[in-house]
């Protein structure tokens, strides 16, 4: 039952109750007063009649005369009349002799002649009677009147009843209407209050835009509709760049004014069907129900044009930029909460790449379900034996001899097949799995090196080292003990580290590299030229070799700039006494060009693709004599 109905019902109930109480007490009062009235009336009648009879009796002093004249003829009252003597004998009666017989000995008698009427009540045959008796002056007789109780009440009560009934009806009718009006007014006021509270709960106080809660509600609704219609729902998240700077420099009130102006622009300039919400601080969210990718792009462009106009705050012209993330239902997530997470990821990516606008891409999402699953799988890959190493030969450019091989890690996933290292190594780096994987890789590579030495191949082995491993202070000790266990000389192991990895944390990188170098292990900088590094710093590192990234080498014959870079790097490395390895050698012409610039070693598909250990041995046996011969 609604509040309004409850109010109305209780109001009407109260009125009915009041009417009942009022009616009952009125009835009681009326009855009591009518009893008094009727006794009085009867006594008066009785008295008057006895006076009349006394006069008659003086003229005709005969009992028979009295007997014939005691009757009273009244319309409104039914009166039984009796004539009794002093010994209670009934000498005459108006009617109903049986009743008279019953009454005989119970009639009260007036004391002495001429006394006022005696009144009382008497019960005859279960009926209450009012009684009045007066002695007839000048005679030995008494005149008695009996009247059934309630004769007078009838008229008064029926009048009362009808008046009470009609007024009651009218009052109840008015009461119902007043109840309706009051309950409506109360319900209206309550509703207004609830609406206000709801507005406060679902809207942002500063801008009066919907808040996060409201956005999620709208998003849920849009998703529900979309499930039926199959249309795409776009969720856009916009976060102002460097808004904190505005707050810190110009004060929070300035920041607030800017946010307000922005909110007004958004409200006015965007389409009505789209929800614009302020999610807090400088973050705004938009829900576009039934959006095509063109619509979404249009809205994003509109957002950027809105932001491009400067904001006028306290006579200052402020400009701000925003990072915008976009996620789509059902393409990116199956529910509102997940979509919200996706759009946040996209927005943060937009912020970190400084591109300003980014559509969600599961591949870039560190928390996407596939990625999480893959991360868990990486942890188990080692135990399940899904990892293995392949080897790519390194060739001495001057002699054509194979001097060693770079060990490369491969993962054969039971479901996804081969997963490239640049995809799974970052996942392993997020967990402790990278430690075990590195240890395993180095161990297998050293064991392979031992096997080559035993087979009479004078080869060294190179292993790539992850950036995270440079923080591992125990790395040098562990590698030392592995070399010792397999009886392999430290010079036969080469560790390759990218320049970016070294620059990430210079101090701990330096410590680890120093420890490895002290061990006698050769260190090499991988992918040289692609990262950001300080030559001044690199010069101090105990590194013996740089590897020029294949992206320069592969196109050096077609692209003059690449060639210039390669030659300059070779020259640079030689001048600071570093050996140079060129990766990505795919043709004899490239090899010849490198040889002409005295590049030390080379690696690439021209010689061989990375091979499993057995195939590598076969390749070595086939190729080594030929190379030696050609030298």
């Amino acid at each position: 039952m609604s509040l309004r109905q409850t109010l109305l019902a209780s109001f009407v109930g109260l009125i009915v109750l009041t009417l009942l109480v009022f009616g009952y007490s009125a009835y009681q009062i009326a009855q009591r007063s009518s009893t008094d009235t009727e006794t009085e009336l009867l006594a008066q009648l009785n008295h008057e009649r006895s006076l009349e009879l006394a006069t008659e009796y003086r003229k005709h002093p005969a009992l028979s005369y009295l007997r014939e004249h005691i009757g009273v003829d009244r319309e409104d009252i039914r009166v039984l009349t009796l004539l009794v003597d002093q010994s209670h004998r009934i000498l005459g009666a108006s009617s109903d002799a049986r009743l008279a017989a019953l009454a005989t000995d119970r009639l009260p008698m007036p004391e002495g002649t001429g006394a006022g009427p005696q009144t009382g009540e008497i019960n005859l045959n279960g009926q209450a009677y009012t009684l009045a008796a007066t002695s007839i002056t000048g005679s030995p007789y008494t005149l008695v009147f009996l009247s059934p109780r309630g004769f007078a009440a009838h008229g008064a009560l029926s009048q009362l009843a009808s008046r009470l009934g009609v007024t009651g009806l009218i009052i109840a009718w008015i009461a119902v209407w007043i109840g309706l009006v009051i309950s409506t007014a109360v319900a209206r006021r309550l509703k207004a209050h609830t609406d206000k509270l709801r507005h406060q709960a679902t809207h942002d106080a500063l801008t009066d835009l919907p808040n996060r809660l409201s956005l999620l509600e709208n998003l849920n609704a849009a998703i529900e509709t979309s499930r039926e219609s199959g249309r795409t729902v776009a969720l856009i998240l916009m976060d102002l760049d460097r808004f904190k700077d505005i707050n810190d420099t110009l004060g929070h009130d300035t920041g607030d004014i800017l946010i307000k102006q922005l909110a007004d622009r958004l409200r006015i300039r965007l389409w009505d069907g789209d929800t614009v919400a302020r999610l807090g601080g400088d973050e705004f969210g938009l829900v576009l129900p039934m959006a095509s990718s063109a619509d979404t792009r249009l809205v994003v462009n509109k957002l950027r044009s809105i932001l491009a106009e400067p904001f006028k705050v306290h006579n200052l012209s402020l400009t701000t930029d925003a990072s915008i993330g976009v996620a789509l239902f059902p393409a990116h997530a199956g529910d509102a909460v997940s979509l919200m997470r996706c759009v946040e990821t996209a927005m943060y990516r937009a912020k970190s790449t400084r591109r300003g606008y980014e559509i969600y891409d599961p591949a870039n999402d560190p928390y996407s379900v596939e990625r999480l699953k893959l991360t868990a799988d990486v942890g188990h890959a080692l135990v399940r034996g899904e990892l293995f190493l392949v080897y790519q030969p390194k060739i001495d450019v001057a002699t054509g001899n194979c001097t060693g091989a770079e060990a490369l890690l491969r993962w054969k996933h039971p479901e996804h097949g081969f997963v490239p290292p640049d995809k799974f190594i970052p996942l392993a780096e997020q967990t402790s799995a990278i430690k075990d994987i590195t240890h395993w890789t180095v161990n297998v590579a050293i064991a392979q090196c031992r096997a080559w030495h035993d087979a009479g191949f004078p080869l060294s082995v190179a292993v790539n080292l992850s950036a995270t491993m440079l923080h591992d202070t125990s790395l040098a000790d562990r590698i030392g003990s592995l070399l010792h266990n397999h009886g392999v000389a430290p010079e036969c192991l080469q560790l390759e580290i990218t320049e970016t990895a070294i620059m990430l944390d210079r101090e701990s990188a330096f410590e680890t590299l120093k420890a490895l170098s002290d061990l006698g292990v050769r260190l090499s900088i991988d992918d040289f030229g692609t990262g950001y590094s300080s030559l001044a710093y690199l010069r101090k590192l105990p590194v013996s070799e740089i590897k020029i990234d294949k992206s320069f080498v592969m196109h050096m014959l077609d692209n003059e700039n690449d060639a210039t870079i390669v030659y300059a790097l070779i020259d640079l490395a030689h001048r600071i006494n570093l050996r140079v390895v060129a990766e990505g050698v795919e043709s004899e012409a490239i090899l010849a060009a490198l040889a002409s610039k005295h590049c030390d070693e080379s690696q690439g598909y021209y010689f061989s693709r990375p091979l499993p250990a057995e195939d590598f041995a076969k390749w070595y046996l086939r190729a080594a004599p030929r190379r030696l011969a050609s030298a």
Binding site: S158, Q159, S162, R163, G165, V166, T167, L169, I170, W173, W177, L180, V181, T184
Partner: protein, 73 residues
């Protein structure tokens, strides 16, 4: 301003019937209600009910924003 009807057909019929009974009891037949004042009040109520039933617009409904007419318009 054109008055918009707000009393539905069943509502009108009930009001009309009740109004006629009230007028009859109030003004024409004193056997049930002998008191003339009560009769007059009841009769007046009857007149009002019949009047509302005829014009199909109830001021109280209007006041509380209720409508017994089906919302087809």
């Amino acid at each position: 301003m054109r008055i918009r009807r707000n009393v539905g057909p069943l509502d009108r019929a009930l009001r009309f019937g009740l109004g006629v009974v009230f007028i009859y009891l109030g003004f024409y037949d004193a056997s049930l209600i002998r008191d003339p004042l009560s009769g007059a009040l009841l009769g007046a109520m009857g007149v009002m009910l019949v009047f509302i039933a005829i014009i199909a617009w109830c001021p109280f409904y209007h006041l509380i924003g209720f409508n017994s007419l089906s919302e087809r318009t």
